[in-house]
């Protein structure tokens, strides 16, 4: 699934580790989600959305 994580992260000048720390996951998890290799569960998607103050569909895009 495509997503805007990398852009949103860059807008806030966060690196992957910063985002990982904020979400309480590993940096490898952030990398896997960002590159579309792993689709997060709904709870994690909500946590990501809450962190950026956006709706899930504003971050994760349909293929």
């Amino acid at each position: 699934m495509k997503n805007r994580l990398k852009v949103l992260r860059a807008e806030r000048d966060w690196n992957q580790q910063d985002l990982a720390d904020a979400l309480g996951v590993s940096r490898q998890s952030v990398n896997a989600i960002e590159t579309g290799k792993y689709d997060p569960s709904l709870p994690l998607a909500f946590r990501i959305a809450d962190l950026f103050g956006l709706k899930i569909e504003e971050i994760f895009l349909r293929d």
Partner: protein, 197 residues
């Protein structure tokens, strides 16, 4: 913090320590059989070789930190697994020594024979606990995929070996070999996913 900072001061590659451990065990076996080191000497050498497992685990942790694939649950898993590994070596030594020195029969024989299996049960429990305790869903999924790959490898090898053995093409392998083969598959599965990530 820059992730590359984690690499500073990291130990040698885990494979180096694993090789040192394997060589130590192999040399111990050779010395006991051909150089008359004796059982006590062999146990001491085996214990010394086992010390290589400590830097190996630390090196694994350092690399996992550097790659961003470490978690509190993984650290607990590694610590528990190391404890069970040492427990296994102690149990195996006690069982073999008791079998060779004492003329065990009946319940005592059963107890000595089953003793090395108990720490292995602990290792299996440790793996199960890790899946339950891992809060990072991606790392948990990777562990489950690796376990499935290991199970597939074990089933394939056991099935093929069984037929080869039935036709006399290969020697008999004791069934306790199942766990080390599965563990090798688990490691290979994790490496493969790390390579693809």
């Amino acid at each position: 913090m820059n992730v590359s900072d984690n690499r500073s001061g990291s130990a040698l590659h885990p494979a180096i320590w694993a090789l040192a451990f394997t060589l130590g065990m192999a040399i111990t076996g050779y010395l006991e059989r051909y150089a008359g080191v004796g059982r006590t000497g062999a146990i001491v050498l085996m214990a010394l070789s086992s010390l290589f497992l400590i830097p190996m685990i630390r090196s694994v942790q350092a690399r996992a930190d550097a790659k961003g694939v470490n978690s509190p649950a993984l650290k607990i898993y590694n610590r528990r697994f190391m404890i069970w590994t040492f427990g296994y070596m102690i149990a195996l030594t006690i069982a073999i020594t008791a079998y060779q020195k004492l003329e065990l029969t009946g319940a005592l024989l059963w107890l000595a024979a089953a003793l090395p299996a108990l720490p292995v049960f602990g290792m299996i429990w440790t793996m199960g606990r890790y899946v339950r305790e891992e809060a990072d869903e991606y790392l948990r999924l990777r562990a489950i995929y690796a376990a499935l790959a290991a199970t597939g490898l074990l089933l394939a090898i056991a099935t093929a070996w069984g037929f080869l053995e039935m036709f006399g093409a290969v020697p008999h392998v004791p069934s306790w070999a199942a766990f080390p083969i599965w563990a090798i598959g688990l490691g290979a599965g994790q490496c493969w996913q790390g390579f693809r990530a």
